[in-house]
Subunit: 273 residues, 2 copies
């Protein structure tokens, strides 16, 4: 497995399909499932490990975001990754004078609660796509709005890459895997699983034909009773990220909550287990 | 010569160098010199012809910008272009939700007089680079700040393309070739050549060791006496586009003037003929 520190060290192999999994490291089973999907589909798998400062707000957790490169590289090796690209911040950002900004689909939800976040995401993904030049790129559906934003950017700017979005991987108690779960105290970690339970209840009520608005109200009240501060709970169209009041097969139920100092997001489709 | 209307019709040829000349059509010798440079250096030459609406301001000349595709295609054929990409506006912009924006180098000069112009340029060039996937791309130095903006975008976003900037081609009387010269009345067309003469005088004064500020003042006064409204005349660093008061070998003298309703820009280096 090659570990590259600078874009110049990479030249795209000819005659094989390059699959790319961009990550911020602190790898967990969610990331590994993306790498395995890439491994199954592509001749050459590239993983990037880069904690991107431009997608963190000034009061967010850039400094304390978990970093464990040695363990990450071991996991990449175990999954059969061919190339890891792990640059430092100065290599990726000698300047920060160019921004790729997506409008519309970025405005609600995470975009509203984390101003500037998606500009940081789209800019670094554009850079990584140009560096790696993948044929396919893999993203996890846990970050549903990020998937919508990347899809829109790729379409709007005609990036020559196909996108694959893969289902969220969960802990045995249902909590969506996230590098930030490490921030939870043992008591918070136990409680965190209730987010998934409340979303399932809400989804099942809606699927059974109940009122969407009433089920969302009940979910919010239940989450607050569980000790979460609720940023949002909503049914959305996963392409436009607009809220919907008419359930269609592709709609997703999304939520963001805070537990102590930790922010958790999750989402479910109508047929998500 | 292939003429393509949709990105899907293009697949980058393998094993040869692809050279790309983006244009807005109304081709003149300036464009042809870029195409000949690409022809001499590359195995496959692609020219795009697309009058990009997003780089025109609301009070600018998008509607009346000269269009003559039949003649453009003939000229491309004569120069030996392999592929012309000539999409329509709906094909290029089913949506306008993503913008590539360069800061800093875009702020003065054309950026100040044409708000939003460079966002339109960088966004369409990013799209065209993704569609064509050139190894080399050719731009004319007449649009000096555009060259600086594209260079910055390519560096900041790690585009896998090398840039070539080619010297301005001039009419026999010195007027820089531009599709917009067609807007000039015969009387204005005669007068327009004075822009180049005044810039040469100013450049030669500075090269002879005179005060930069004094020579710029004299140039402005002379241009106004010639009947031009002067938007700016300045010595700049062509990479940062910052004004300079210390002449260095790579510095350029830039100017933008208006004559009747027509805006003219031009620039000279210390060794430009």
């Amino acid at each position: 497995m090659n570990v590259l520190r600078h874009p110049n060290e990479w030249s795209k192999p000819i005659g094989t399909t390059v699959g790319f999994v961009p990550t911020m490291g602190a790898l967990h089973e969610g990331h590994l499932s993306l790498m395995r999907a890439a491994r199954a589909e592509c001749g050459h798998v590239v993983v990037s490990i880069f904690v991107n400062p431009t997608q963190f707000g000034p009061n967010e957790d850039f400094q304390r975001y978990p970093r464990n490169e040695q363990r990450d590289l071991e996991l990449c090796g175990e999954v059969g990754v061919d190339t890891v690209f792990a640059p430092d911040v100065e290599t990726m950002y000698p300047r920060r004078t160019t921004v790729v900004a997506v409008r519309g689909v970025t405005e609600r939800w995470e975009g509203a609660f984390r101003p500037g976040h998606f500009d940081g995401v789209t800019t670094v993904v554009a850079k990584l796509f140009h560096i790696v030049q993948p044929d396919l790129a893999y993203f996890g559906l846990k970050d549903l709005q990020q998937c919508a934003v990347i899809r829109r950017m790729v379409e709007d700017l005609n990036f020559p890459v196909r996108l694959r979005f893969c289902e969220t991987v969960r802990e045995p108690d249902g909590l969506a895997m996230s590098s930030r779960n490490q921030y939870l105290s043992p008591e918070e970690r136990r409680r965190a699983a209730l987010l998934y339970r409340r979303l399932r209840e809400c989804r099942d009520e809606a699927a059974a034909g109940g009122s969407l608005a009433a089920s969302l109200d009940r979910a919010r009240i239940a989450l607050e009773a569980d000790g979460f501060a609720v940023d949002y709970v909503a049914w959305v169209d996963p392409v436009t990220m607009e809220p919907t009041d008419r359930l269609q097969p592709h709609c997703r139920l999304i939520a963001a909550v805070r537990l102590g100092g930790v922010r958790l997001i999750d989402n479910l489709g109508l047929d998500t287990a």
